[in-house]
Symmetry: C2
Subunit: 98 residues, 2 copies
């Protein structure tokens, strides 16, 4: 699970992608709000602009089982785990007589 | 208008108050989420804890006309302005004959 603060972003402003097999890329952009007619900004401290983070997924991540939910300005990306590979049975190689 | 990022906070976690006639106090607390059974945190960068900011309101602020709305992790506090005071009419003082 990846939990990222994204206050003021709408689902359409957020992008969640998997690239290069195992890199989870979370990006978004907060645009400056449209200035209201006659409004005067006294102070601006909230960051606007693009944000991007990359995370390397573990080997057992299921890249087809990823969900992303945004609530109250917090994005939660959940990556399912692949079931552990079945233990490999001992394999017998026949010995040929030469 | 005061616009404050408050990702992950619910309306009940946020407090908006006016103190000393003209000081707007915005505070909140983000608690650490309850640890899930068996969950292991690999990295934590999101700030948790209390936050508080005070703003001095201008003289023409209507302290009875303040609204606070939280959406997508962004709190917007709107303070209405009082109507400008009516221009004072000239006042005539009768002159008594003494």
């Amino acid at each position: 699970m990846f939990v990222v603060d994204m206050p003021g972003l709408k689902p359409g402003d957020i992008k969640v992608q998997v690239e290069e097999e195992n890199v989870l890329l979370i990006s978004g952009e907060r645009k400056r709000e449209e200035e209201k007619e006659g409004a005067k900004y006294i102070r601006m401290e909230r960051r606007v602009g693009k944000l991007m983070r990359k995370f390397v997924l573990p080997e057992n991540a299921n890249r087809d089982g990823i969900t992303a939910v945004c609530k109250d300005g917090v994005l939660t990306v959940t990556v399912e785990k692949l079931p552990p590979p079945e233990p490999k049975k001992p394999k017998t190689i026949e010995v040929e007589i030469c």
